[in-house]
């Protein structure tokens, strides 16, 4: 999901209450196409405390339609097979954490 401004047709993430382009509050949620393209990536070998058990893990920035970008984990792809420009799709964890930000984590996988 991303936010679309009904006034200037700007599509943006993270979601905000005010359009950062035209300051309008006339906004609506819109569903993004799940397919995107990998712009850049890394593999984290030294993680923060709470990610110790899953390291090493790959993180990438994926571009969706209209230039919306997201950063997230790339799962189920061997590091040597990850390439800038590859097609990825977004999926979500099944569990919802009880702490902030309290929504299921999204991640990227092969289409």
């Amino acid at each position: 999901m991303a936010v679309k401004c009904r006034s200037c047709v700007n599509l943006f993430l993270p979601p905000r209450n005010v359009c950062p382009r035209c300051f309008s509050t006339n906004l609506e949620w819109t569903e993004l196409d799940e397919k995107g393209t990998l712009l850049t990536y890394t593999v984290i070998h030294v993680p923060p405390s709470q990610f110790q058990s899953v390291a090493p893990y790959a993180l990438g920035i994926v571009e969706f339609e209209d230039g919306v970008h997201l950063l997230g984990m790339i799962r189920g792809v061997k590091q040597e097979e990850i390439m800038v420009g590859m097609d990825l799709t977004v999926d979500f964890d099944t569990n919802t954490p009880s702490q902030w930000p309290m929504w299921p984590r999204y991640f990227f996988k092969l289409p």
């Binding site: 993270p14 850049t40 990536y41 984290i44 923060p48 993180l59 970008h69 997201l70 950063l71 930000p101």
Partner: protein, 363 residues
Amino acid sequence: MFAEAVREAFERCPNLNPKRDIEALIVGHMGESFEHQGHTGPTMLDWSGMLPIPATRVESACASSGAALRCGIFAVLSGMHDVVMVGGVEKMNHRATPDVTEFLAMASDFPFEQWHGITFPGLYALIATAHMHKYGTTEEQMAMVAVKNHRYGVLNPKAHMQKEVTLEQVMSSRMIAWPLKLFDCSLVTDGASCLILTKPELARKFTDTPVHIIGSGQASDAIGLYEREEFTTLKAAKLAAREAYGIAKVESRDVDVAEVHDCFTIAEIVAYEDLDFCKPGEGGSLLEREATTIEGDLPVNTSGGLKSKGHPVGATGTAQAYEIYLQLTGQAEKRQVKDAEIGLTHNVGGSGATAAVHIYRKG
């Protein structure tokens, strides 16, 4: 630490009466998490023996004291104060690496970056991957930054890691966030720095070796790296540089010595490009030509940089200014750049959401 930096600043201004002349303190400090200590302004002022003048902390992640310096300039230029003290401080080294990694990551977006396991080496690794893909920049070129800056750290008695490293050592060091390895990363360091700012007409009253700040620029970008259109450049740094060059009425080719924010080796390469030391994508070849060594056209990070001198995050911006002060007053000893007249500092917060650039002229 901060009191020691303050004391040295006082010693370098022999005609300054600190308790009479200094009117305010502006101090950069990034995180209360490291020491569980906030309210840094009056805390540092008290420890420095400077109560009861106004003291304010400025927080802009790793650009905290670059931003504090700019606030100090405003304080003097506004006419509100004649003499102010600006500086920075951070104590990080007593914490375990996973904790430091987590605390530093707080300078990135929480729900869209930290929550997915990003780290600061990871954010700059994303920049490195994009730079390698777009321009063909190599891991060897990044390693050259580490080799150069460690060479100069050996010449700086205040550097944290006074040890040379070879290209092979950098390339074979353990992976932190591919393609960045241990020796591509700056150090987790304790440190403090301090400058005394005053009006040009008063400077010589306090010291025979003043340095003029002739340009200041600061700009901002989205806190999330992922939100930006381009990952191979820091737009805020480009804008800050443009503003600083404009105010100073100098161009990049006029700069004789620069301290740039090499929190990771790729960051120094991107800095060359953002500061117009070369065209986009040519940062790596500048290193291959040795253009940024002390003997080169534009020596960069003669202090050893964040890479070897260390990166006590809140202290870094004014520590960079201290190195430029030493260079422009001929006090940089073994790492002195010959005939340096114009200096530049480039201080970046987070993955580029804040950038502060300052330009200095020999007094």
